[in-house]
């Protein structure tokens, strides 16, 4: 047995199999299959170490049935870091050659920074070949069914931005007068290439609050899609590039607008980074990583200038509420908007089922989880649902569009930008 596996087994054995993680698991809640629960995955990890199961493709499939929503970690009475162990299980299986071919190709592309940038910047062009605009306009639907990617004819996926974020804003966005702070903004892939308008709104909100915002060169994908699938070596390359791009700039803070990027930068890199030197630089930087809402509240937001006479609700992205401990901050900023009525949904912190590529590889399951979220949102009677995660935005937009709902999904920063008249 490998040493790594032995260590994982020891950690997994802390699980007393009490069952608290069962019904709160979005995946198990739909399938009722024991192997899909955290308890089941930890038992499989232990069985792998004991040699009673093998690192098969079926194992990778079971290990991939997790949205990494961290609710099991939050509730575990024995303090088992379930999410970390599930990632470690995927890592082990990936090292045993169990990464699906599609992901291998995609990850090879993501780690080639310049090529990836070129492809994503022109994503809009390539996308139009395969997708057409959905009828009521929130995104695109497939021209042809591509079942393997979960891209059936109904699924609404966002349109690539016509222009990437870097083409919309300068490398340094300066506020009027003396800056109150100088920050780096880490937009990640989605706010760069897909929801670039939301990325711009976030920068505008910061500059309106007297903050100088830099977009350092050489920033890459945060690496989550890779390590979430077990490819830690690929993620390490990206993480190291990002730390080099962000740590040396003397910034007061690194701002993220995507829950997943934020928790990767602030926490997951601790597991991902291999080089001691880079890790050292990261140690000095990690406590300066803030979600936009958290940063604004710490800074003291300037008063809003416009009323937004709408009803809004808020969806907690898993990686914000449990990953970065951010849930009160966006609510506090949204509630303060003049004219806005805020209403909570029943279960705001339950996963929407996106989980990055999970929504493509497990589209049916992802849709079932999403259906509860859509019902919850529609039950509030809100006009707008705000969230701090682009993946959630993409997923919820899809669900609402398919349910025929008119509720709009906005990044928290986009809602704030309206109140600042930006």
């Amino acid at each position: 047995m490998s040493e790594a596996l032995e260590e994982l087994k020891a950690a997994a054995l802390k699980c007393t199999r009490c069952g608290q993680c069962l019904t709160i698991c979005p995946v198990y809640g739909k399938t009722h299959e024991e192997s899909n629960s955290s308890r089941g995955k930890l038992f499989l990890l232990r069985s792998l170490a004991e040699g009673t199961v093998a690192p098969t493709e079926e194992m990778m499939e079971l290990a991939s049935r997790c949205t990494l929503c961290m609710r099991c970690k939050a509730i575990c009475p024995s303090g088992v870091d379930t999410t970390k162990l599930i990632l470690a299980l995927r890592r082990y299986l990936q090292e045993q050659g169990r990464l699906p071919l599609g992901k291998k190709i995609a990850f090879a592309a993501i780690t080639k920074g310049r090529l990836f940038d070129a492809a994503m910047s022109h994503g809009g062009f390539f996308q139009s070949l395969l997708f057409k605009k959905s009828e009521d306009g929130p995104g695109k639907v497939a021209r042809l069914p591509i079942p393997a990617a979960g891209l059936n004819m109904r699924r609404v996926i966002p349109a690539f931005a016509a222009r990437p974020l870097r083409k919309m804003v300068p490398a340094v966005s300066r506020p009027q007068g003396t800056p109150r702070a100088r920050v780096a903004f880490f937009p990640g892939c989605m706010l760069s290439y897909v929801y670039a308008e939301a990325g711009k709104a976030l920068i505008d909100v910061l500059t309106a609050n007297g903050v100088e915002v830099c977009l350092p060169e050489q920033m890459q994908c945060c690496g989550t899609p890779l390590f979430a699938s077990g490819d830690f070596a690929g993620a390490d390359m990206l993480a190291a590039a990002n730390v080099r791009a962000l740590a040396g700039g003397g910034f007061d803070a690194v701002i993220t607008g995507c829950a997943t990027c934020g928790s990767a930068l602030a926490q997951e890199y601790g597991t991902v980074l291999r080089s001691d030197a880079v890790r050292g630089a990261w140690e000095g930087m990690k406590n300066t990583v803030f979600d936009i809402s958290d940063f604004l509240l710490r800074l003291g937001p300037k008063p809003y200038s416009y009323a937004v006479p709408l009803t809004a609700t808020y969806h907690d992205a898993c990686h914000l509420v449990r990953g970065m401990g951010v849930s009160k901050q966006p609510r506090s900023l949204i509630r303060a908007i003049p004219g806005l009525r805020f209403t909570e949904m029943g279960k705001p912190d339950v996963c929407c089922g996106c989980a990055g590529s999970f929504s493509a590889t497990h589209y049916g399951l992802s849709r079932q989880i999403l259906a509860d979220k859509v019902d919850d949102i529609m039950g509030t009677g809100a006009d707008i649902v705000a969230t701090g995660c682009s993946a959630c935005k993409m997923q919820i937009t899809d669900g609402l569009a398919q349910a025929g709902s008119r509720v709009r999904v906005l990044h928290t920063a986009e809602l704030l930008a309206r109140a600042y008249g930006l």
Partner: protein, 463 residues
């Protein structure tokens, strides 16, 4: 004998391919339940998820005529190794997808599927201002089928009784595959033997429960939480019977001793009385006007027994704070040692002090750390035997065994609310006597002549 593939094909023809699991990895996850007991070395042939009693009936018939063991199961949250395969020639019969909940406010009943989660039943009842009182600690994730099969208890049993007090009727698939209805919605019903109560607590050994009719009661108007601390553990234990005979019936009366109080305080920093030998967490409920007098009665009783702290939660936030201490028991205990063995014995309430004293004596004798908490109001204690090594685990098991025999001597029971499962079958003959076990085995034989229903559970190898 059918081959594995033949069994799989036959079951698939009943429920459809989509409703069964046959992969080795999937099935490996059905070799354990809650708790740290060693998993079963036997991998079942399949796990099947029927949707109707008719499907269950067909599956049971198939197994009965081919000598295949059936392990009925839902959430696998049982704490006594209640539902694991005893042989490779077994199937897991998951009741999770038979999970409907229909509240019938006119008859104060709920008709539910065994796979329904108990918390969801409570929520559904509360919408009609009704209450389903049993609240095992697992109620947010355990199924009502499992609760009925083990006659699960919980905190509020002290006033409201255990699960069995609320089971009014059952639909059961017998080992023959025949479907019967025992009991119903009538409050009074003495036609024939009380099979409803026979199947309740039978741990899946006599039949497969496919529908449950539950009694509901009006939701109490209000409740209030109280925390009382005592310097001496014995006084806290004495206070329990004193309160119960004072005319007040608390809806909850939980007991925690010092090791646990300190572990919880270390974990939560909730401001618990760490110098107390033991404390009681009490809840009274009912009409708003009755709460204060109930709390006052309890205070008077506790004062006479030398309490050192008495705290009544004035707001719901304060009450929540008090209950954090109870709920944090498990995470706090996880920090005390690498592992622990638990249990669920009970004694008549006037023997509670003696039982706690005995627990510490047994711990001392074997040189291991022990602690306990419990649903003191009904004499049910949860002992903890801690260990940090495999060697110490063996000692802990020995100590627990000895404690179980002491409990029986006191007129107690080795299982109050988790069921016998496989963990406590070695004690049943001592507690029940040979004649009674033989009577039980005769019932088992009559209802399940081929011993296909959860074999090994309750009776060990005797069935």
């Amino acid at each position: 004998m059918l081959s594995k593939d033949e069994v799989r094909a036959a079951v698939a023809s009943i429920v459809g391919e989509k409703n069964l699991l046959t992969g080795h990895e999937d099935l490996t996850c059905y070799t354990y339940n809650a708790g740290g007991a060693a998993p079963s070395p036997h991998i079942p042939i399949l796990a099947v998820f029927p949707s109707t009693a008719e499907e269950v009936s067909s599956i049971v018939k198939l197994c009965n005529s081919n000598g295949i063991s059936i392990v009925p199961r839902s959430q696998g949250s049982g704490l006594s190794v209640n539902a694991i395969p005893e042989s490779d020639n077994s199937i897991i019969l998951s009741m999770q997808r038979i999970n409907s909940i229909v509240i019938d406010p006119e008859t104060l009943t709920a008709v539910v599927g065994p796979g329904a989660i108990t918390a969801d039943i409570k929520k559904a009842a509360a919408k009609h201002r009704l209450m389903y009182p049993p609240d095992p600690a697992s109620f947010t994730f355990s199924s009502i089928g499992g609760n009925v099969a083990t006659d699960a208890g919980g905190l509020q049993c002290v006033k409201y009784g255990t699960t069995k007090s609320y089971v009014s009727g059952l639909q059961v698939v017998l080992a023959s595959g025949e479907v019967i209805r025992a009991g119903g919605k009538c409050i009074k019903d003495v036609t024939g033997y009380n099979l409803t109560q026979l199947f309740t607590g039978s741990e899946g050994t006599l039949g497969v429960i496919t529908e449950i009719i539950l009694k509901l009661i009006p939701l109490p108007q209000a409740k209030r939480a109280i925390r009382v601390a005592f310097g001496e553990i014995e006084n806290a234990a004495k206070a329990v019977s004193a309160i119960m005979t004072s005319g007040v019936v608390p809806s909850i009366m939980e007991f925690q001793e010092q090791t646990l109080i300190r572990a919880v305080e270390d974990y939560t920093h909730a401001g618990l009385p760490v110098n107390a030998g033991a404390m009681l967490l009490i809840e009274v409920d009912g009409d708003v006007s009755t709460l204060k007098p109930q709390a006052e009665s309890i205070r008077r009783v506790c004062e006479q027994l030398g309490m050192i702290d008495f705290h009544v939660a004035e707001t719901s936030e304060e009450a929540e704070q008090l209950w954090v201490a109870r709920r944090s028991g498990l995470p706090a205990l996880a920090r005390v040692a690498k592992g622990r063995l638990g249990g669920d014995p009970a004694v008549p309430i006037n023997k509670l002090a003696q039982a706690v004293h005995t627990l510490f004596e047994v711990g001392k004798k074997h040189g291991i750390k022990v602690s306990c908490q419990g649903h003191a109001g009904d004499g049910n204690i949860h002992p903890h035997f801690f260990f940090n090594s495999d060697e110490e685990k063996k000692t802990a098991a020995k100590a627990r065994s000895e404690f179980h025999y002491e409990i029986i001597k006191m007129g107690g029971t080795v299982s109050a609310e988790h069921g016998v499962g496989r963990e406590k079958s070695p004690y049943i003959t001592t507690q029940l006597g040979e004649a009674q076990v033989a009577a039980m085995l005769a019932i088992k034989k009559a209802l399940d002549p081929n011993n296909i229903l959860n074999p090994g559970c309750i009776f060990g190898g005797q069935a």
